[in-house]
Symmetry: C2
Subunit: 142 residues, 2 copies
């Protein structure tokens, strides 16, 4: 967990100017004890409703994409109608609860890394991630 002043340095170090908007978004995303998953809309709503700050939606998009490019966020696709982002940028696995649409992190202690026995020739493996879909028993699979 970083302190407020450190965000400015980190941004500058990444070649991003530490603007008011970016610093606020850093606070919301990174000044916490645990990583989490969010959509652009969650984030924009949080900023405008909970924090009563005004950041243009275009800026929220710009910032999230800039942070992703710098490796501070990771994009996740479970569902194609909107993008999810993850403040946990390490390679890790997910449970996806189909009842609640909740996405839960887990690492190699909970889900053992699958062994890749063959690879596409000439290509390098960039990531290996497991998605486990769960639901209550009586729930019809989507």
């Amino acid at each position: 967990m970083l302190k407020n002043t450190e965000f400015a340095d980190k941004l500058r170090f990444s070649g991003l100017r530490p603007t008011k908007q970016r610093l606020k978004i850093c606070e919301v995303l990174f000044k916490r004890d645990h990583t989490f998953h969010f959509t652009i809309n969650d984030l924009a709503k949080n900023i405008s409703e909970q924090l009563n700050e005004k950041i243009s939606l275009a800026t929220v998009y710009n910032t999230v994409h800039a942070f992703k490019k710098k490796g501070y966020l990771k994009e996740i696709s479970i569902n194609s109608d909107k993008s999810y982002f993850d403040t946990n940028t390490t390679s890790h696995h997910h449970f996806f609860d189909e009842d609640t649409n909740e996405l839960i992190d887990c690492d190699d202690e909970v889900i053992e890394a699958p062994k890749i026995k063959k690879n596409i020739s000439g290509k390098k493996i960039k990531s290996v991630e497991v998605l486990v879909k769960v639901a209550t028993d009586y729930h019809n699979q989507k």
Copy 2:
């Protein structure tokens, strides 16, 4: 691989009327030796350009969703700007080539099934799938 006449029976059996449009889409999707991945747009383009047939885009959407609901297609999320569908409806894993955006199937012989050591309490595991992202070595990861 099914013959033309069998599609009508299969559709009727599923409670779907075997219309001209659905039969044509069955042909395009299922009258082949290998399963494959496609987007709605790929499919619509194939029908209108290669086959010179006219099926309304709304019907292509309707049909693909109907087939998915009946379990003849499976939806895949790698990328959140559009939905991919898979004619391979078994539980299986994928390589995703970031250079070409190509999605390649593989089964438990190539990627060993990951062991799930803990599950969310009260929930049942519906699927366990691995996504391996690959790229040429010099390629910057997205």
